[in-house]
């Protein structure tokens, strides 16, 4: 049996407690927000890693990655015939379409795409949200180093594989 009106008292207590607890608000334009690691701000491109495999473009749910390329012949001394190599001509991400799912980054087999926590790239014209490969390359400087492994989390796949191999032999 609860006392009638106990809930009213509890409500008052909650608000009073919140009143004397310091607020954790970060005053954004004055104070840079403390973003968690792996924040999804903008996608950065490391151009030299890209092999134009088109996986990112094809996996993108809203088709916001545009890739053009051409093939170049590379003459390798001593080889029987010249090799062919893909050269990236255009790599654009349209951030007016991007929904920040990160599938392109997940799917990239050569680590050419990264998340950067930068988010202040709003534009007055929606067409300016199309970032070309130079602009995407500039974001690379803002990519943070990967956060250290969580000591309480699962061990990495590499570690378990090594341990399994060691116990097997």
């Amino acid at each position: 049996m609860s006392i009638p009106g106990a809930g009213l008292g509890k409500g008052l207590a909650v608000t009073l407690k919140t009143l004397v607890t310091p607020s954790t608000t970060q005053q954004y334009p004055d104070v840079a927000p403390e973003l968690p690691p792996r924040s999804r701000g903008v996608i950065a491109l490391r151009e030299e890693n890209c092999t134009v495999c088109m996986l990112c473009s094809r996996e993108c749910p809203d088709w916001c990655i545009y890739i053009d390329s051409h093939k170049e012949e590379v003459v390798v001394p001593g080889a029987a015939r010249p090799r062919q190599r893909n050269v990236l001509d255009r790599f654009d991400i349209d951030f007016s379409l991007c929904m920040y799912c990160g599938i392109c980054i997940e799917v990239c087999p050569f680590d050419a795409l990264y998340w950067s926590p930068e988010f202040e790239y709003a534009e007055y014209d929606i067409r300016d949200l199309m970032h070309d490969k130079d602009r995407l390359g500039e974001w690379m400087a803002t990519v943070p180093p990967p956060p250290p492994h969580d000591p309480l989390g699962e061990p990495s796949k590499e570690e378990t594989a090594v341990a399994k191999r060691a116990s097997a032999s």
Binding site: L8, L12, T15, L16, T18, S23, Q27
Partner: protein
């Protein structure tokens, strides 16, 4: 003599213009921090102290719209009718011992209760004249609520008048003794709760009920007239807090009352105003039937019982 009168009226006018802003700013900040926010931080550079001034400037710049179907003169007059009674009430509330009151009035309590009741008319004027169904619904709710709560409001005030044996507000404060806090406790609660309902503050904001009625009887108001209604709400807080402090919490009574009595009065008023804000943040709005039930089945009997108690103690003492 004339100069003294002018000075008194001017001081009351200054209090009328500054105290509500103070309460409003406190509400901004207290409510924000109770909701784990910061509230206004930019206007005036230091913790948003000038926010309400900025709001006032904004309101003054807005277009003054009178709906075509509205009853023009009544519609335009309503904000003034809402605001004026509170100004008149401030005139008779004692600030400190002796002569520190805008205008000592022998029937002060009677005057206050009569004049505060005029607020109902302002609400009804705004509601009927707006030619808006939400305004009308809000106004009818307000009429039902204000007429209902007028009764416990008056009865509890009558209790303290009976205890003091006078209707003059300075007289009641002068007759007050600390043990009255206990003796008049039910009347204090009834007076404060029905006072909250009189100024239509949450949890008694059924007439405004923004989630059901757009903004009740204020729906059609814009600009300066809307600001007047808002100002009336905050003056209402000041008046109800000051009345509660003066009638039931001993007004200027306190240590060194002779010299700093006015400070005690302001502190007590501020504390009651804080509770008003606190209740707004913490409690949900009462439904219409709950509102009437609370009034007629709880507050009115409580006030009547308090009257009997007061009369009994008075007879026993004399």
């Amino acid at each position: 003599m004339t100069w003294e009168l002018i000075l008194r009226v001017a001081l009351v006018a200054v209090a009328f213009l500054t105290l509500p802003l103070l309460v409003g700013q406190t509400e901004h900040k207290v409510m924000a921090h109770m909701q784990a926010r910061l509230g206004p931080m930019y206007a005036g550079a230091f913790h948003g102290w000038a926010q309400l001034i900025a709001d006032g400037v904004k309101f003054a710049q807005k277009e003054d719209v009178t709906p075509r179907a509205a009853d023009g003169p009544v519609f335009r007059l309503a904000p003034a009718v809402a605001l004026l009674p509170y100004l008149l009430v401030l005139l008779v509330i004692p600030l400190g011992p002796g002569d520190l009151v805008g205008q000592p009035l022998d029937v002060g309590l009677f005057f206050v209760l009569a004049v505060v009741g005029v607020g109902v008319i302002a609400v009804l004027m705004a509601a009927w004249a707006s030619a808006n169904k939400y305004s009308l619904l809000g106004g009818l709710r307000a009429a039902a609520q204000l007429l209902g709560y007028e009764l416990p409001f008056v009865l509890s005030a009558a209790s303290v008048a009976m205890a003091a044996g006078t209707l003059s507000l300075p007289g009641i404060v002068a007759a007050w003794e600390p043990w009255w806090l206990l003796w008049q406790l039910p009347a204090t609660i009834v007076f404060f709760v029905s006072g909250l309902a009189e100024i239509r503050r949450p949890p008694f904001d059924m007439p405004i009920a923004d989630s059901e009625l757009v903004f009740g009887y204020l729906t059609e108001y814009t600009g300066l007239r809307f600001a007047f209604f808002l100002l009336a709400e905050y003056v209402g807080i000041v008046v109800i807090s000051a009345l509660t402090a003066a009638l039931f919490l001993g007004g200027w009574h306190g240590p060194w009352a002779e010299s700093v009595g006015w400070l005690w009065m302001l502190l007590k008023t501020g504390a009651v105003a804080f509770v008003v804000i606190w209740l707004r943040v913490s409690w949900p709005r009462l439904r219409e039937d709950q509102l009437q039930r609370l009034c007629w089945l709880v507050l009115v009997p409580l006030a009547l019982a308090q009257l009997v108690l007061t009369a009994g103690v008075r007879v026993a003492l004399s």
